[in-house]
């Protein structure tokens, strides 16, 4: 018989044992569940989703490669080449994801024997890294154990420690040691650094400048040599402009690649980092069109991820060509007209502030920009005066443009029921409360009352007629020395109406970074400013806006979107004629102004009187023209604020502008000319702006009369003035 304690122990033990068995079963059951989850999940991945994964693998093996398809070219409206691609021989290197640096170095050594490579791009850092690569042991020994331990003990990540260590090693490499790198090694290094600056699977240009025929042949012969694995010889393209027209824009070079601030944008669109991209104007605006489609290859990889073969899947396509609406002959002739007048102006008196002049000519019915001239006076290295192309100023430079906007003011007046057709109002100097007098240029003396109809108001450029419209819009009637008030909504009324013509809003031209001018502040206590607004002396407008404004009137109230590109065509197949048309840029109506045809016709009539009427402000310039045209002049008195260093800072100056269209009955062209700061003497304003307008319209009809020699679809050499002149 067992003692009780022993019996109790045995009891406890057997209880424990049976409990353990129970719990082992629970454990085992849990394990069974875990393993079941594994098998279920495997079944899901391999059986249910298996095909998806198999497809995903096939897909990831297809990669677009930078095969350097040529970028689209740009032609003028007559088929003259404006931006071209010149073929250049290039030697490239493509690293695979698995290529090791040591392998690249071997290839670089081999390649250095075959080609000459400039070493001036090699940096000190390159040399130091290269020295470490060549003399790894000697370099690591430069750091003492204490220094190493000191870095190890710092509280930073492993990566930072390694960086610190590397920096220390580089520091300790002496000038003399770096000099031990021979000329030949330096050449290898120059090649090696180009190789490593690229990304896996993206061909990196090793040399594309001055590749001699011998070098090209030497490398081409040995392309299959495993020692030159990854090296290729290709025909690369160099972008060349055959015109100095700035709005054509520019691209980056492959060395520059994608601009850093747009990196993600382009990478998301399958660009490589070393792709050329348009960075300004047309090249930027039409980047998607000009950039070709890269060829796509399927990489066949072995088990280690090494590419053993590539099969082309898609050949890729060259970029599409742009055909401009600009005829370079007209553009060049008008450019010369503007330049000559600008030089003449600058040579004359009171021309200290004269700097630039603009001329925009467009087809009012389609919005095609026929010419976009901007000229700016500058100085070359020798200090001589030169005139530079400043064509983009036509969409960015904005100034108060004076009375040219009066057509819009009249139409706003009709729309707001401030005046009626043929309404006669008295032009008289307005004497406002506080002694301020607002008057028309032609009617200066107080108490001289001249009755004017709406068309006459345009003819003589009456300010007072416009002021009275403004007063009516703001709910006022003129009373002698009577104070009046204007609300912010009144400004909005006028501005919204002007916006229908494109004044003060983007015109929608197909160029990036278009300016829309400045809107002056609303100042409640100065109602006189509102009067300035309606005669174009407050808000600022760009030449392109003026052109769109006058086009809208010429085109019976339909505002067209201006565009410089007329057609997008496929790349030429034979090199002689343009490729087939891909897209024709259709005329796009942005809006129609809120006026009746009769009202528009009335304004046109008034503008015709500006050119032909007895008192017409442009009669002396256009009175004798053998074509019918209509237009409006503008003079804005302003203060010069552009340069606070100038002696003319805050002194009065004059902007002059001119808008018009021709022929009167069936307008083919609408044009706007603008010269800011034309004089510092507000009493003697030169008529250069109007002379330019007249000469430009003359030129247009002259060229139009000339029979065109060849179809515009035949590719021609760029327009050459001298050559054309001698013919």
């Amino acid at each position: 018989m067992k003692p009780p304690q022993k019996r109790q122990a045995t009891l406890a033990k057997s209880k424990l044992k049976s409990n353990t068995v129970f719990r082992m079963n629970i454990l085992f059951f849990s394990i069974f569940l875990l393993f079941s989850i594994l098998i279920l999940r495997l079944g899901y991945l391999q059986i249910v989703k298996g095909e998806d994964f198999a497809r995903a693998i096939a897909r990831t093996e297809e990669v677009p490669v930078n095969t350097s398809v040529p970028r689209g070219r740009i032609f003028d409206s007559e088929g003259r080449v404006q931006v071209d691609n010149q073929p250049v021989n290039a030697i490239t290197y493509t690293a695979m994801q698995t290529t090791k640096r040591t392998e690249m170095l071997e290839v670089a050594k081999e390649l250095a024997k075959l080609i000459e490579k400039e070493t001036n791009k090699v940096t000190l850092r390159d040399k130091q890294d290269y020295y470490i690569m060549l003399h790894t042991e000697a370099a690591t020994e430069k750091v003492t154990d204490e220094e190493r331990a000191a870095i190890e003990s710092e509280d930073i990540t492993k990566k930072e420690k390694q960086q610190k260590l590397d920096a220390l090693i580089r520091e300790k490499i002496t000038e003399k040691e770096l000099e031990s790198i021979t000329e030949e090694q330096l050449e290898v290094l120059a090649i090696f650094r180009e190789m490593t600056s690229g990304y896996a699977m993206s061909p990196q240009i090793i040399k594309n400048k001055d590749v001699t025929a011998e070098e090209f042949a030497r490398v081409s012969e040995r392309l299959t040599d495993p020692k030159l694995k990854g090296v290729n010889t290709i025909t690369d393209w160099k972008r060349t402009k055959t015109s100095d027209l700035v709005i054509l824009g520019s691209t980056t070079t492959p060395e520059q690649g994608i601009p850093a601030n747009k990196l993600n944008y382009y990478l998301a669109r399958d660009y490589s980092r070393n792709d050329r991209v348009g960075t300004s104007f047309l090249e930027q605006q039409y980047e998607e069109v000009l950039q070709g489609q890269k060829s796509v290859v399927k990489n066949i990889t072995d088990g280690r991820g090494r590419v053993i073969d590539t099969i082309p899947v898609d050949e890729g396509q060259p970029g599409k060509d742009l055909v401009l609406s600009i005829d370079t002959e007209l553009q060049s002739s008008l450019g010369n007209i503007v330049e000559e007048h600008l030089r003449e102006l600058k040579a004359g008196p009171n021309s200290q502030l004269v700097r630039d002049a603009y001329l925009v000519m467009m087809d009012p019915k389609t919005g095609e920009v026929l010419s976009m001239v901007g000229k700016q006076i500058g100085r070359d290295e020798d200090g001589k005066t030169v005139v530079n192309d400043y064509s983009f100023g036509a969409i960015t430079a904005a100034y108060p443009t004076g009375s040219v906007v009066k057509g819009a003011t009249l139409l706003t007046g009709y729309e707001q029921n401030a005046i009626e057709l043929n309404q006669v109002m008295i032009d008289e100097p307005l004497q406002l409360a506080g002694g301020d007098v607002k008057r028309s240029l032609f009617n200066q003396s107080l108490n001289n009352r001249v009755p004017l109809s709406d068309t006459q108001a345009l003819e003589v450029s009456s300010n007072v007629y416009m002021f009275k419209i403004a007063l009516a819009i703001s709910g006022n009637t003129y009373q002698h020395k009577w104070g009046f008030s204007v609300k912010a909504e009144d400004y909005n009324t006028v501005r919204n109406s002007f916006a229908q013509f494109g004044l003060g809003v983007p015109t929608g031209v197909d160029l990036p970074n278009e300016g829309s001018g400045l809107k002056g502040r609303f100042i409640a206590g100065e109602p006189g400013i509102f009067l300035n607004l309606v005669i174009g002396q407050y808000d600022t407008y760009t030449p392109m806006q003026l052109a769109q404004y006058i086009s809208t009137i010429a085109n019976d109230g339909y505002r067209m979107e201006p565009h410089i590109v007329k057609e997008i065509r496929k790349a030429s197949t034979d090199g002689k004629t343009l490729g087939s048309v891909e897209t024709v840029i259709e005329p796009k109506i942005l809006n129609r102004i809120n006026n009746t045809q009769a009202e528009i016709d009335q304004v046109k009539k008034g503008m015709r009187m500006v050119y032909t009427g007895n008192r017409g402000s442009a009669r002396s310039y256009f009175g004798d023209a053998d074509y019918t045209a209509a237009g409006k002049t503008g003079t804005a008195e302003i203060s010069y604020y552009d340069d606070s260093e100038s002696p003319f800072y805050n002194k009065p100056s004059i902007n002059t502008a001119h808008v018009g269209f021709a022929p009167y009955d069936d307008p083919q062209i609408a044009y706007a000319v603008l010269i800011p700061y034309i004089t510092t003497n507000t009493k003697a304003v030169p008529g250069t702006t109007h002379k330019i307008a007249r000469a430009a319209v003359d030129k247009y009809f002259e060229l139009k009369a000339k029979p065109s020699e060849e179809s515009p679809t035949v590719i021609k050499a760029p327009y050459n003035e001298e050559k054309e002149a001698t013919e």
């Binding site: 393993f35 991945l45 059986i47 095909e51 994964f53 995903a56 088990g303």
Partner: protein, 395 residues
């Protein structure tokens, strides 16, 4: 008292046969994995050598009986801790004995192979834990919540010492193995459900809460709890690898592409298309799955399950508590390794670097696991000794 069975009869041939199958699977998988030749060495003969060495080791282990393991358990535990301390203070420079691999200082660099003390420490820990729990039950015949709580405290102390050393290497995967072993032993050692259910439930709830906070309350975690943002990356890459183009996400996507595209029947031996890094060690399961498809991969899982089943059967046959606990610990260790390793390749669990037992290439891992299995062999071998001596059990 001697057994009446012959020497050969006392060897667990079923277990030996299962191990033989693992040996075959391991060599096939490794030889397929290294077709890439990326390591410049042939691992197959090396792995074969490790297997032979470990079989010899099992022979030696079987010479000792469980009693001797029980007696030396604490010394082995102490020895393991000593190794971890030595590793921690070993010089870590380039080419020195304690040089970190992939950022973890977990290996001694020895002339012939790299030794990972933590792999052996697992077994020593199991022995010590089993001895402690068995001794506790002998002393406290009447179980109360108080004695159970006391036992839980002692288990905690035993766990924390190695855990601290391993976490600082850092080696999260191995640390989790220690926790898994501990959880299994807490269940098996008979601690009251009244303690287990709330505490396990609490830990699980805390885990879920942390996971949820990682996704929705990062601000709080970084500013109030001082967690580093990069710690979240592991969770994100696990839940949505396609949106995170870092290394771990790349590994996971590659692993899933490899496994998924294996489909039902696989692409055949060495027929792989997807390059998965480290596919001869931690990602060896991707090789099996891609080459042999669902059939091959589920066969391997079933093989593991058979091993676990066999070990469980042995556990239930063994009479003394110490041996039972040791076996339970070993089962937990192997299970966790398998579940974590396979789970991370199929997006069930986040990626942590631990090998697939008995199949992944690696001396430390293989010998570490064989050490544990050797002790099982020994227990089975000496088990019959107690056939007629129930009362001797407690001596």
């Amino acid at each position: 008292m001697q057994t009446n069975k012959s020497f050969a009869d006392r060897i667990d041939w079923s277990l030996a046969f299962i191990l033989f199958l693992f040996f075959v699977v391991s060599l096939i998988a490794i030889s397929s994995a290294q077709t890439a030749g990326q390591y410049g060495a042939n691992f197959v003969p090396k792995q074969a050598v490790f297997y032979i060495v470990s079989i010899a080791m099992i022979g030696v282990l079987m010479y000792f009986d469980p009693d001797q393991y029980k007696k030396t358990a604490y010394y082995l535990y102490g020895f393991g801790i000593l190794m971890l301390i030595l590793l921690m203070i070993a010089p870590a420079g380039q080419g020195q004995i304690g040089q970190p691999i992939n950022g973890a200082k977990a290996w001694f660099h020895l002339p012939f192979f790299n030794l990972q003390p933590a792999e052996f420490m697992k077994t020593f820990y199991i022995l010590a834990l089993a001895k402690m729990a068995a001794a506790h039950h002998e002393k406290n015949l009447v179980k109360t919540l108080k004695t159970d709580g006391y036992l839980l405290g002692k288990i905690g102390v035993l766990l924390l010492i190695p855990l601290a050393f391993i976490m600082q290497q850092p080696d999260l995967g191995t640390a989790l193995v220690f926790i898994a072993i501990t959880l299994a032993l807490i269940v098996v050692s008979g601690i009251s459900w009244k303690i287990i259910v709330p505490s396990f439930g609490g830990v699980a709830a805390l885990g879920v809460l942390l996971l949820w906070m990682t996704l929705n309350m990062q601000e709080f975690l970084t500013s109030k709890l001082g967690l580093q943002p990069y710690a979240f990356a592991r969770i994100y890459t696990w839940l949505d690898p396609y949106s995170y183009a870092d290394n771990e996400a790349y590994n996971l996507i590659a692993a899933m592409n490899a496994i998924g595209s294996g489909e039902v029947f696989g692409k055949g031996y060495q027929g792989r298309q997807v390059y998965v890094p480290e596919n001869h060690t931690d990602f060896i399961f991707t090789v099996i799955s891609e080459d042999f498809g669902f059939i091959g991969s589920s066969t391997v899982i079933i093989l593991f399950f058979m091993l676990i089943y066999h070990l469980t059967k042995i556990t239930l046959q063994l009479k003394d508590t110490f041996s039972t606990y040791v076996c339970a610990g070993i089962i937990a260790m192997i299970t966790f390794h398998v579940f974590q390793n396979i789970g991370m390749t199929i997006q069930l669990l986040p990626i942590t670097g631990i090998p697939l037992p008995l199949i992944s290439y690696g001396g430390s891992s293989l010998i570490g696991n064989m050490l544990a299995l050797g002790i099982v062999f020994s227990m089975k071998f000496h088990h019959k000794n107690y056939m007629f001596g129930n009362h001797k059990e407690d001596e």
